[in-house]
Symmetry: C2
Subunit: 780 residues, 2 copies
């Protein structure tokens, strides 16, 4: 029997892999997907978790820098984050080639065309200059093609950054601190930009650079402009006064930069082509430590001038990760996997692995030898649900490193971040969700983490009120949460904080239990029910009863609540489960629910869905509620708090409805176009949600199980870190046969719609037997 | 009548000034006073409020770096703080000349002699090398004299810092983050040291340097050693592996440095002397911004190689300040002012003006054009009582700048500091005493400060609990203070925090009242009485009744209290008004009273002495209590909380007793020797206390009045910022005639022992008529 099973297994695996093996998944990565509209992904090249992400900036306004044509391009800056909302961050060290105007410190230019691929961005400007960009982890590379008979110039702007506003300290705006630039040799310019604030309202961070050229500089000028001036708003007179012949500009809290020219006659034959064009190769090392470290980063990561080799090295790193999951057809009869699906799937994996960024050895705040350092957790509130679990599947060592970095940050900075960027914790949208990330890894049996220490760090969040800035780190409103068992209205985000803290408490309880701390377990399990203290059982809306609603410290339910922070006028307004307004000057931050309505959060209790069903009046009423939620438009696809909601049908024995909702949501909201992501990708949160649902496997972060539902792909093989393969097949999947009749795990009937991580890690084949109507799979 | 008075005034003023005018007060400054024992002042040169303080370091242990001979000198680092307790801070960028041993990265050397004067430190080492140091605000200068026939070498250690310990994260120890060094030309080496923690447990700070030489480097080596290694503990093998010929060492989180040799034959005739010696001049620019800024600081502040000129410029800055107060004799009959008194007096002024340091334009965290930036508030808890009031008298514009810097820090960092160093707020010993500094300036009618904004910043301290680290900034235990009206035992420093917060609340009330915020005034006046909630009226000790004593949250008085932070064992011990023990690993921080006993703090209610007298049972019992305090040894001269206590006799109409106590305390505890300060000078706190008492004028910080008592000098003239002079004379003062018979202000009888700042600022003459026994002056 056992032998037969093994044989069957082998056969199935072979079949799964044989049909449609992808030699280069990277060809399906299209960084344009989700770049327009709300997606806001960065389009420029990046290595997996790479610190450097060179990309064009079109004014300082877009979060990712880039705007579609015909917007003017100001240049290419070396640092970006992907998929973010709120005020922009980074956009440091801008270069821009030009062919005339050494008296101008700004050269915005129009594009004629654009070519965006994995590890590559290319454009030809209307002035005829072509720019191609690729990158290593800590150094970017550019190949610039000029007309041989024009001037061949390059601007380096050390004062540029995204999100600058006309007045200092605008909400969520980055602010200038200082900059410096120095022509250090014929072929090298170094300097830095120092910026503070931005979305996470962080302290100052410094981005050092070393720009190196494969041809000598034949002429240069530098500038030092008042911090308040926009380069493109500067009048000619001012412009002349700021440009000088000095070989360096000291950081006197002014915006500095350099204008460089390269002599075509010094180009080697390799740089000049017969078509009258000359190439300039530029490498830009980036560091958060020093200019010399930036230079060292170039030397170590791009020790040559071969642009294509740099790009290939980056592609290879991606292939190694992307190929961890192979998708394809299981039989000729099955619906073929479309090009669009492949593009969506691999691009979504790509998006997930852009952040956080590995800055080990690049931390200017402390050095703990051997301990990894990651930055740009942006934000864990967004990514804990699906990004972390996906990294766990693809690269568990990476996830281990990320968690050890979180613990180290707690030791050194006092708290684990919920968001962190520019070396500074900042902004907690809801809970202190690093706890969920840790509980998820614990549940999945990670080694290489000091769990006693991890529990201590989790307990810091849960016991130490953050004080001064209640939205920077830790748990704002913690004192009241512990005193009342909920956060009373009047404290920002009282609703979702209560709900999410209860979930985080549950996560603490799980780890405590595993480590044998029973009294901690019991205390936090009790607290994990605090969400019920905001459950207004008799409140009715759209035919549904019971919602998380505002409550005063005195215990009274509030129908009218004050709006915004005004203490004098105290304008009030009606709060209902669909209220989504927030004052324009503090979008979401001063409301009852962050980035969601009560309708959404009243279904967002991932740690106690049975308890939720009970609160909602039992399975039948719960099903009606879910149907109303989706059918009446209360569901918001672009919003993380509703990520799990389509799967809640699982808990009432209806995985078929989960599958149906998921398929509908994806079909209606996702595609492979620039508008293909329905909301901010949030460092890959949205994308990783898509990856899991494509496979028919969805994690409930913080737990050890996945929810199974009808996949959207006929075959997926995950090459696990332990050397085993786990294959999910749905051989007869088609638009019609989209319902799961039954499921077999390694050939044996598998009636449950839940699968543990342990089961998955054992490898094998999970087969969905598809039909044109649901069977009774998962109903018990 | 008026004319007559004017004439008299003129006469008196003339007399006061004529007798003993000092052409150079700086000759009386002896940086050795207070350098040994507890004083811990820095001995090396410094400009007033100067950022750079070059001084010898003898191992990494002493707070000021320096130890008396015969200790070995490791070298001269460029940054120090003066008079501090706890773990050391700074000690960055060490240089040391040597004449053999290019294979050794450490050259500790014995001194043959030492010469320490204002703006000058000189020593001759046993190897014959002479080192002289002087300084500008942001660049130091060295003149090194070698024997012409020896090697002429210099070590620059970018990995050196004070307070390093063998294990990471030892309590209050500085920790290494990174360093870098680069030979940038024949005559310049640049780099930086990045260090975190230290006494204030601050975030990382970076000290950049540019070292410049007046002779070309003839030979160099650089090193890069593991962070954990002590240079002097490294075995020969390790040493050889870390030294290389590379012209730079990148910051790879290792300790870096350079060994340089200079060729005697390249010395100019000015550098070589006929006696077979050759000089090397070294200038070291320091910056917290960048290496280039450090270079610019040299260029701007020492644009020449003339050591003596640099020293003279520093002396001139001191003279301008020291000469604001002239002291001398009023008549030939009077006791002459001794050399020792002059030395103590001017050195004490000197000590007071060493910190905080002016770092305007040197802030790496933010740039707010036009706003001053000061660092090294170390700590305001120490300095608010007498240092700030003395700076106010000598240089009110400086004090305005300091206060504006405090407000700016509040805007950017969330709180005003109580202590700040290395660009980071950290450690609140008691109250949030920047509030007293502000109230003091407000009471004294400062302009140039936005008082509405100042009140807002004060209210941040008083209303926003600091969260996570309850001893970094703001008011730790604030929630409980507001809830119970006192801080219950169990929260660190419950006793002195309660007492000091009440004082701080009084300060807020005063400013609020002045600005017309009556409800704030009333609320904070109410809170200013909270110290009474810890007044255990029936507790008796040494025949005195009523003490500030530990109380539980439930309101019970505690005789036995838990000791330290142990939660398992909960060792308890008897707490009495003389208890001063604290766990060795947290000296003072975990106790009921910071750095003092209940005896001391029960007399430390500067804002409500009449209320205190009432609590103590009225004037007679209060007098007995004060006598007991001083006679039975409960007074601690080296401790700031007891600074005002000798003056408390004023409030019961006995300024004669104040005078008597003050004279006795000074005679017994202060002198002009290296051991001449009885406790940590704490950035001049101890010294400024002495200055005021010498004059017979003592401020009660936060109020607009001074307490008058028998001076120790026969004549003092303060040249006020408004161009007027205020002269205090005691023409017949002698050891015998040490009692005040009566006082005349501008020739008119002045029966009060209190004088307002407004009166003082009007200028004029205050004459003490001295006698061999007290009169009835000040008794009403």
């Amino acid at each position: 029997m056992k032998t037969l099973l093994s044989l069957l297994l082998l056969l199935l695996t072979t079949v799964a892999n044989a049909w449609d093996r992808e030699p280069a998944m990277g060809t399906y990565v299209d960084p344009r997907i989700g770049s327009e509209g709300l997606g806001r992904v960065v389009v420029g090249p990046s290595c997996p978790f790479g610190m450097v992400k060179p990309s064009p900036d079109c004014t300082v306004r877009p979060n990712s820098g880039w705007l579609p044509m015909p917007a003017l391009v100001n240049g290419f800056s070396q640092t970006h984050v992907s998929g973010t909302g709120g005020g922009p961050k980074y956009g440091n060290v801008l270069i821009q080639p030009f062919c005339s105007g050494m008296d101008r410190i700004s050269h915005p230019t129009l594009r004629k065309d654009e070519d965006i691929r994995l590890a590559y961005y290319g454009t030809t400007f209307e002035n005829g200059i072509q720019v191609e960009a690729t990158t290593a982890e800590r150094a970017s590379q550019y190949r610039i093609t000029y007309s041989s008979d024009s001037m061949q110039c390059l601007l380096i702007d050390a004062g540029w950054f995204l999100g600058e506003q006309n007045k200092p300290d605008a909400r969520e705006a980055q602010n200038f601190v200082g900059s410096q630039i120095q022509i250090v040799s014929e072929t090298e310019v170094q300097g830095y930009t120092r910026i503070r604030a931005g979305w996470n309202e962080g302290r100052a961070y410094t981005v050092y650079f070393s720009a190196q050229f494969d041809r000598p500089i034949s002429q240069f000028k530098t500038w030092s402009a008042p911090a308040a001036e926009y380069a493109d708003q500067m009048d000619e007179e001012t412009r002349n006064t700021v440009i000088s012949d000095a070989p360096y500009q000291v950081d006197n809290q002014r915006k500095t930069g350099a204008l460089l020219c390269f002599n075509p006659s010094e180009a080697t034959s390799a740089q000049s082509s017969s078509s009258g064009q000359t190439k300039l190769n530029v490498k830009i090392g980036i560091s958060f430590i020093s200019e010399l470290k930036a230079r060292q980063n170039v030397k170590e990561q791009i020790p040559h001038w071969d642009f294509d080799q740099t790009r290939q090295a980056c592609i290879d790193k991606w292939e190694a990760l992307l190929s961890k999951i192979e998708i394809g057809n299981t039989s000729k009869k099955a619906l073929p996997v479309s090009n669009s699906q492949r593009r969506q799937f691999y691009t979504a994996i790509y998006h997930t692995l852009l952040e956080p960024v590995d800055r080990t050895g690049e931390n200017p705040l402390w050095s703990d030898p051997g301990v990894p350092y990651y930055d740009d957790f942006y934000a864990i509130w967004d990514t804990y649900r699906t990004s972390s679990p996906l990294i766990t599947l693809l690269d568990p060592q990476r996830e281990t490193d990320i968690i050890n970095s979180l613990l180290n940050i707690c030791h050194r900075d006092g708290y684990m971040p919920d968001a962190r960027s520019g070396n500074c914790n900042g902004r907690t949208q809801g809970g202190s969700n690093a706890e969920i990330v840790i509980a998820d890894a614990y549940a999945k049996g990670f080694t290489g983490i000091d769990w006693e220490d991890a529990l201590k760090c989790m307990l810091v969040d849960a016991t130490v009120p953050p004080g001064g800035d209640q939205e920077a780190e830790g748990r704002g409103g913690l004192v009241e949460y512990l005193r009342y068992g909920y956060i009373p209205y009047g404290i920002d985000r009282a609703g979702n904080r209560t709900v999410e803290y209860a979930f985080c408490d549950w996560a603490i309880a799980q780890v405590a239990k595993g480590l044998g701390y029973n009294s901690i377990y019991e205390q936090y399990m009790k607290q994990s029910e605090y969400w019920k203290n905001l459950w207004r059982a008799d409140y009715e809306h759209a035919g549904v009863r019971g919602f998380i609603m505002p409550r005063s410290a005195e215990g009274e339910w509030l129908d009218e609540v004050p709006f915004g922070h005004s203490k004098k006028q105290r304008p009030t307004f009606l709060y209902t489960p669909v209220t989504a307004e927030s004052p324009w000057y503090t979008p979401w931050w001063g409301t009852f629910m962050y980035e969601a309505t009560s309708w959404e959060y009243s279904l967002s209790i991932p740690h106690d869905v049975p308890g939720l069903i009970e609160q909602c009046g039992g399975p039948e009423l719960f099903r009606q509620r879910l149907d109303t939620f989706f059918d009446e438009g209360f569901y918001n696809v672009n919003n993380e708090p509703s990520f799990l909601t389509p799967c809640l049908y699982h808990w009432i024995g209806r995985p078929d409805l989960t599958g149906e909702r998921v398929r509908q949501i994806i079909t209606e909201n996702f595609n492979d176009s620039p508008l293909g992501l329905p909301g901010n990708d949030d460092s890959g949160a949205m994308s990783s949600w898509l990856v899991f649902h494509y496979m028919g496997l969805y994690p409930n972060a913080g737990t050890d199980y996945y929810l199974l539902h009808a996949p959207l792909l006929p075959s997926t093989t995950i090459h696990l870190s332990n050397g085993k393969d786990f294959t999910i097949v749905a051989p007869r999947l088609s638009d019609k046969r989209r319902y799961v009749q039954s499921v077999k795990l390694n050939g044996v009937n598998y009636p449950s719609s839940f699968l543990s991580h342990t089961q998955l890690m054992e490898g094998g084949v999970l087969e969905f037997i598809m039909s044109d109507k649901p069977g009774d799979w998962g109903t018990k």
